[in-house]
C-alpha cells in the first residue's frame, strides 16, 4: 500500500463544514442532504419503469411532485459532492484507484458495504434523513427528531461494533 498524504485537522475541517452548512441555510433556507438524492433517483427509475407502481406509493410520489427527480436540488448537490471530493482527493494525492491497484477490498468487505447501504437506505427513508440531512442539519437547528436519530445511530453502531470486529481488524 502506497503512503497517502495525511488528512486535514478534523476540528478545523469540521468548522469549515459547519460554515458550508451555514451558507446552505442562508442561501436556501434548508440544510445539506444525501439520502434524499438516492430517494429521488429511485423514484425517477420507478416512474420510468412502472408509472403505476410509482403512483401507488406515496413515498415515490413525494419525490415526483416537484418537477423532474433527476434535477432535484439534492441530486445536483450530490453531483457536486462527487466533483468536490474527487478534486480534493486528486489535488492532495489521496486518490486510491482500487479498480486497478492491489488495494482492492475483499469480497466480504464489498458485500458488507452493500448490506450496510441497504440498511442505511431503509433507516434513512424511515427517519426522513441521514447523517447529513437529519443528524447534522437538523441537529444544528436543535430538532428533537434529529437528536433522537443521532443518539440511536451511535447507540446501534457501538452495540453492533463488537460483533463485526472481524470486518475491521
Amino acid at each position: 500500500m502506497r503512503p497517502l498524504r495525511s488528512y486535514a485537522e478534523p476540528h478545523a475541517t469540521g468548522v469549515c463544514l459547519g460554515l458550508v452548512l451555514l451558507a446552505c441555510f442562508a442561501l436556501t433556507g434548508q440544510g445539506l442532504g444525501a439520502s434524499g438524492a438516492f430517494a429521488s433517483v429511485a423514484s425517477g427509475v420507478i416512474a420510468a419503469v412502472s408509472p403505476e407502481t410509482a403512483a401507488h406509493s406515496a413515498y415515490f410520489r413525494s419525490y415526483l411532485q416537484d418537477g423532474s427527480p433527476w434535477t432535484a436540488w439534492l441530486v445536483v448537490e450530490i453531483m457536486g459532492v462527487l466533483v468536490g471530493a474527487a478534486a480534493s482527493a486528486a489535488l492532495a494525492g489521496r486518490t486510491r484507484l482500487t479498480f486497478v491497484r492491489a488495494v482492492r477490498p475483499s469480497g466480504g468487505r464489498l458485500f458488507a458495504g452493500l448490506a450496510g447501504g441497504i440498511l442505511m437506505g431503509v433507516g434513512a427513508a424511515l427517519a426522513r434523513g441521514c447523517t447529513s440531512g437529519l443528524a447534522l442539519s437538523g441537529g444544528a437547528l436543535l430538532s428533537v427528531g434529529a437528536w433522537i436519530f443521532m443518539v440511536a445511530l451511535f447507540l446501534a453502531g457501538f452495540l453492533a461494533a463488537p460483533l463485526l470486529r472481524r470486518l475491521w481488524p
Binding site: 475541517t13 420507478i46 407502481t53 413515498y59 445536483v76 477490498p105 450496510g116 426522513r128 442539519s137 445511530l153
Partner: protein, 179 residues
C-alpha cells in the same frame, strides 16, 4: 437554474470538506465505533456547533431569520427505529450516504457498493410503502425543537449544547493525549 448552481456549488464544498477530513475512508469511519479514531465525532460536533452558533448569532445580528429555516419534523418512533437500523448499516459499510459518494470519488470501489445498497434500500421502502405507511406516519410531533420541548429560551439551549459539545471534544482530546 440559479438554485441548481447553488446546489452544485454547495455540493462541491461539502464533498471537498468531507474528503479533506478523511471521511471517505471506510476503516477510518468504522474506527469511530471501536474508539480507535475519533475523526467522525470531531468533525460532526465541530460542524454542528459552528452551524448552530452561526444560525443563532446570525439571527441575533439580523443577518438571517432562524424561524424561516426548514427544521426537520419529529416522528419519534420512525426516527428511533430508523436511527438504529442506520447505525447498524454504518458499522457494516464504514460509510454513510454522503461519505459513500466521497469514497467513490476518491477511487474506492466500496463507495459504489454502498451507493448501490442505498439505492436498493430506499427502493425497498418505496415499494413496501403502502404497508409501512402507518408506521412511517406514527408518533408525529411536528417541528419540535429542544427549546420547545424543554421550555428554555433558544439562547440557553444553544449555550448548553455548546458546553456539552465542547466538553465532549475536550474529553476526546484528553483521552488521545493520554495514549
Amino acid at each position: 437554474m440559479n438554485d441548481l448552481l447553488i446546489a452544485g456549488g454547495i455540493g462541491v464544498a461539502f464533498g471537498w470538506a468531507l474528503e479533506c477530513a478523511g471521511l471517505g475512508d471506510p476503516p477510518k469511519l468504522a474506527g469511530q465505533f471501536y474508539l480507535r479514531d475519533f475523526t467522525v465525532l470531531k468533525v460532526m460536533l465541530s460542524a454542528m456547533l459552528t452551524a448552530m452558533l452561526g444560525v443563532f448569532w446570525g439571527g441575533r445580528l439580523g443577518m438571517l431569520d432562524p424561524n424561516a429555516l426548514y427544521v426537520p419534523e419529529t416522528y419519534l418512533l420512525p426516527q428511533l427505529v430508523g436511527g438504529l437500523v442506520f447505525g447498524l448499516g454504518f458499522v457494516l459499510s464504514g460509510l454513510c450516504p454522503g461519505t459513500s459518494c466521497v469514497a467513490l470519488a476518491s477511487g474506492r470501489v466500496e463507495g459504489a457498493a454502498t451507493m448501490l445498497g442505498l439505492f436498493v434500500g430506499v427502493l425497498l421502502v418505496g415499494l413496501a410503502f403502502p404497508e409501512i405507511e402507518p408506521f412511517y406516519r406514527s408518533t408525529p410531533h411536528g417541528t419540535l425543537t429542544l427549546q420547545r420541548l424543554t421550555g428554555l429560551p433558544y439562547g440557553i439551549v444553544v449555550a448548553l449544547v455548546t458546553v456539552i459539545g465542547v466538553s465532549m471534544l475536550a474529553w476526546i482530546a484528553k483521552r488521545e493525549a493520554a495514549r
